[in-house]
């Protein structure tokens, strides 16, 4: 599949599910891996720069379209996807991060060759842009990883509160994913009104939340996940939610 066809399929992604997004992302990764492999072969064979330049252009178009169609989409849907299936979302993010890591390594290798070879100005500019896109994307993936950990915590707290407070009919939970780097994040809960004063119910649930947070701290304090590539998993041990609010 060429970049053109690939971009058409990506255009459909905006209306599709996590599965469809994962499938399209795999296609994107395969396409770029093929392009990178070609570029490496051209370099080994000391082929003309025009062929390497064509690969750069292909990667540039692919990266820009991917940013428009997948990254922006993930930005608005990451909490939904993580809520729907955190394992699949984790796999998707792992595939994306490993591939992006490979691209960054590839650009570093190319930079060394650029110094020796007579690359055109356009090619050098393309390389700078490609590296820039990948580094930005690395930050975005890190944010998606962090939000996924926040979602796991929200889901676990919600389940625990439901089990402990059977006197309430819990419906759903929500939080603002843009708050992921805030010190204090609110876990919004909806439940059927049982006639109790809302603020009294909040007080009871907040006491429970504090216990749950302390439990999480105890459970995760000895777990240390090593950084992989440019990514860290520090949010796994963090306790995100400082209070609940009924909405």
């Amino acid at each position: 599949m060429g970049v053109k066809n690939f971009s058409m399929s990506l255009a459909l992604v905006a209306t599709l599910s996590l599965e469809a997004l994962a499938d399209n992302t795999s296609m994107y990764i395969q396409e770029e891996q093929r392009a990178i492999k070609s570029a490496k072969q051209y370099l080994i064979a000391a082929t003309k720069n025009t062929e390497i330049s064509a690969v750069f252009k292909e990667l540039k178009v692919s990266s820009e379209q991917f940013n428009d169609n997948v990254v922006k989409f993930l930005n608005s849907k990451i909490t939904d996807f993580a809520k729907e299936d955190s394992q699949k979302t984790g796999m998707l993010l792992a595939n994306l991060s490993l591939h992006n890591d490979d691209k960054i390594k590839f650009y570093k290798e190319i930079k060394k060759i650029v110094k020796k070879n007579n690359f055109s100005k356009d090619m050098k500019e393309d390389l700078v842009l490609l590296e820039h896109i990948s580094k930005n994307f690395q930050k975005e993936i890190q944010k998606f990883i962090d939000i996924s950990y926040m979602e796991i915590e929200a889901k676990n707290h919600f389940k625990a509160l439901k089990l402990i407070h059977t006197e309430y009919q819990f419906k759903d939970y929500w939080y603002s994913s843009t708050d992921v780097y805030n010190e204090s994040i609110v876990l919004f809960l909806s439940l059927d009104n049982n006639g109790e004063d809302i603020f009294d119910t909040e007080d009871k649930l907040n006491k429970e939340l504090l216990s749950l947070q302390s439990l999480k701290k105890d459970m995760t304090k000895n777990i240390e996940l090593p950084n992989v590539g440019g990514f860290d998993f520090d949010k796994m041990n963090k306790t995100h939610f400082t209070r609940v609010s009924l909405i």
Binding site: S76, K77, T79, D80, K171, D172, Y173, W174, S176, S177, T178, D179, V186, F188, S190, N193, I198, F199, R243, S245, L246, I247
Partner: protein, 128 residues
Amino acid sequence: MNPYREYSETLTHCVYTMMQPVIKVEDVDKLSLEKSLINRLYYALYNRIVAELPDLQSNTTSNKHMQINQILLKQSSNRSIEQVRQVFNDMKILREWADYKPNESTPPYNLNVLQMKVYSIVKRAKIF
């Protein structure tokens, strides 16, 4: 009556009225209407608090939300004021969702709960 406080009460009353089943709103998109109500509830609360902060009434600078939060935070040891601060900040998060985040998932709110929370503060004789 303080015009800010009056406006605050008008807004909450307006939201309450619009939530009544006698209002036929078939032609209005339900989500858009609910987002408008959330926005109005936030401003009902905002104006109720500003009603007791004369310095902010004449202040034309932006980011008054942050200033209000700071003022409330300074007195957060008072349980009643901390409650106001929390509801105010929660409504801001919901208002931002309603006004600026059309692609994000819809929070599982119940407008009656939000209206009750805001109104419980708006009707207070005194906040500070």
